[in-house]
């Protein structure tokens, strides 16, 4: 890819427009990450210095006291566990169930294939939040309120994964599948032994895409989980905002604590993220 880049950079003209736009882009990039810097640097300040005007752009006496206070007074570990558990399990289920359906839509011949797919996909733009009230009532009938499963299932029902994987499977060649069929392999075997290994990259990337969305799925968690023991990181951090503590840095420290692991994950896996997000845009 690097070589490709170098080639391209020779092919397209550098002019004033290019320089000006890059300055603007850089400027906005810095503005965009400034809140993150501000969040993090404030979490290292004492309550007294946090409101000092003019502000301490760089913490004068950085300390991790706020983190110690937060970790010792709140169940942050349990919040993080719940968030990870819910996000990972949802993602695994979405990938599994939608890959089954996407495989059928892409490769199998059955009556209504196209029609069912179109009906299914036409609901793509409808977020579940729109029917969140009746959904809540239904979860209540299933006795799934205040369970992790209740948070997970409605997200697995969404057509998003099918939409993305169908496109990916469409692009896979049929030759291997057909020769396996001739050898008498069942569709299940074909799916498991041929299609899934071939689609590993796509599935891995979809994994990240869904994971990030589940990690951010606040409203549904807010409604479904009221038990302290089930609270997710997002709910926990938000509930810190309603704590009456004299320490001003406390709340911003919560935000920072939730953000740091994800930032590290992102920095380590940036290429996977890029692939995950761009997956759906790979067009036939």
């Amino acid at each position: 890819m690097k070589i490709n880049m170098a080639l391209k950079s020779q092919k397209i003209k550098r002019d004033k427009l290019d320089i000006v736009s890059n300055i603007v882009v850089l400027f906005f990039a810095l503005i965009n990450i400034f809140p993150l810097y501000w969040m993090f640097s404030n979490s290292l300040k004492s309550s007294n210095s946090i409101t000092r005007m003019p502000p301490e752009w760089i913490p004068q006496h950085p300390s991790f006291d706020n983190y110690v206070q937060l970790l010792s007074s709140q169940n942050v570990i349990s919040w993080a566990f719940n968030s990870v558990f819910i996000s990972v399990l949802t993602t695994v289920l979405v990938v599994f169930i939608s890959s089954l359906a996407a495989y059928a839509f892409a490769k199998l011949d059955f009556y209504g294939n196209k029609v069912i797919f179109v009906i299914f996909i036409s609901t793509l733009m409808i977020p579940k939040d729109v029917y969140i009230i009746p959904l809540f009532k239904i979860m209540q009938n299933f006795n799934l309120i205040n369970t992790r499963l209740g948070v997970i299932i409605p997200n697995v029902a969404l057509p998003f994964g099918v939409f993305i994987l169908k496109q990916f499977f469409d692009s896979l060649p049929n030759a291997l599948r057909e020769s396996a069929k001739i050898d008498g392999a069942s569709e299940w075997t074909v799916y498991l032994r041929i299609i899934i290994p071939m689609a590993k990259a796509g599935i891995g990337a979809l994994f990240i895409l869904v994971f990030v969305r589940m990690w951010n799925d606040y409203l549904w968690q807010l409604i479904m989980l009221s038990k302290d023991s089930l609270k997710t990181l997002q709910l926990g951090i938000a509930s810190l905002q309603t704590e009456n503590v004299p320490n001003l840095a406390f709340k911003i420290t919560g935000a920072s604590l939730a953000a740091i692991p994800m930032i590290i994950v992102f920095l380590c896996f940036q290429s996977y993220f890029t692939r995950g997000i761009t997956l759906g845009a790979v067009k036939e």
Partner: protein, 294 residues
């Protein structure tokens, strides 16, 4: 008899397809299709803690008479239109500016714009809220130092709404940048070479080669962005509680308030159904327009 046999044969041949889509379809029917109908039913009732009475269209009539609801609908439309448009425009602008630079630089830019998503909306909103706090925040300090004393930017109805929109926009921009960057890098070399021979300026290349070629990405991003923005709730919930004086209320926030603060599931369902109709209409428009463009 022959018919039956035929049917059986046909079924056996096709059953795999149905079996593979069955789990997804079941979940889809139970947790997506059925709730919509249940929502429609609930919207005709006045639902309290213990009581439930049929009221016909009263919930809808009340909503249409309610200036707060109208305000929320308009706010929602502004959110969707502005955030989506700005994200597309800036996403294109940023990615066309950096796509032919070193990969380190690209990674840096990508990171800068995508990090808000990673830190989650909760932390992002809290940080912004902290910055715009009228009595302790950085923004009011900066305003003070340039001579604008004691002004609360979140106290102005219009400004408060646009601040929320900007927060949502910054949150969604990262995805646009990543998508467009990948799409532009994927454009075959020959396209650029041809332009080079013609002596096209950078602007011309962007305008006549890049933008048309990434239109599938635009289509995909608009869908993603739309789904994320139409349900805007969290930023409102954490940053303004819908205020000042309902200026930043959105449909989702009203729905939540009706359902879980006012305890009126019926009216909340009616709001949900209204959202459903609006989302469906917008998605039909978006789909047909973008399909036509492709």
């Amino acid at each position: 008899m022959i018919y039956k046999a035929k049917l059986k044969k046909e079924f056996l041949k096709q059953k795999d397809g149905y079996l593979f889509i069955l789990p997804q379809m079941l979940l889809f029917l139970v947790f997506m299709v059925y709730p919509v109908f249940e929502g429609l039913r609930l919207s005709f009732y006045n639902v309290g803690f213990v009581t439930k009475t049929f009221v016909g269209f009263r919930n809808y009539i009340e909503l249409f008479k309610d200036s707060i609801f109208i305000k929320a609908v308009l706010n929602n439309l502004q959110f969707v239109l502005i955030v989506t448009t700005l994200s597309v425009v800036f996403g294109l602008f940023i990615s066309t500016a950096v796509f032919d630079k070193t990969s380190k630089y690209m990674s840096f830019i990508r990171g800068c714009y995508y990090l808000p998503v990673m830190i989650t909306m909760v932390a992002f909103s809290i940080t912004w809220l902290w910055m715009v706090n009228p009595a302790m925040g950085l923004v009011s300090h900066v305003l003070n130092s340039i001579g604008i004393q004691n002004v609360n930017i979140m106290g102005n109805s219009t400004v408060a709404l646009y601040i929320l929109i900007v927060v949502m926009w910054l949150f969604n921009l990262g995805e646009a940048v990543i998508l467009y960057l990948a799409a532009i890098i994927g454009i075959p070399q020959e396209q650029f070479e041809a332009a080079e021979i013609d002596g096209a300026s950078r602007f011309m290349v962007i305008r006549f080669i890049i933008i048309p070629l990434v239109s599938p990405t635009t289509f995909y991003f608009v869908i993603l962005c739309f789904i994320d923005v139409i349900k805007v709730f969290l930023a409102v919930h954490l940053m303004t509680a819908g205020g000042p004086n309902y200026a930043t209320t959105t449909m989702m926030y009203l729905c939540y308030q009706e359902a879980f603060v006012m305890n009126n599931m019926g009216k909340a369902s009616a709001i949900g159904m209204m959202m459903f109709v609006i989302v469906s209409l917008l998605s039909i428009i978006a789909m047909t327009r973008l399909k036509a463009k492709n």
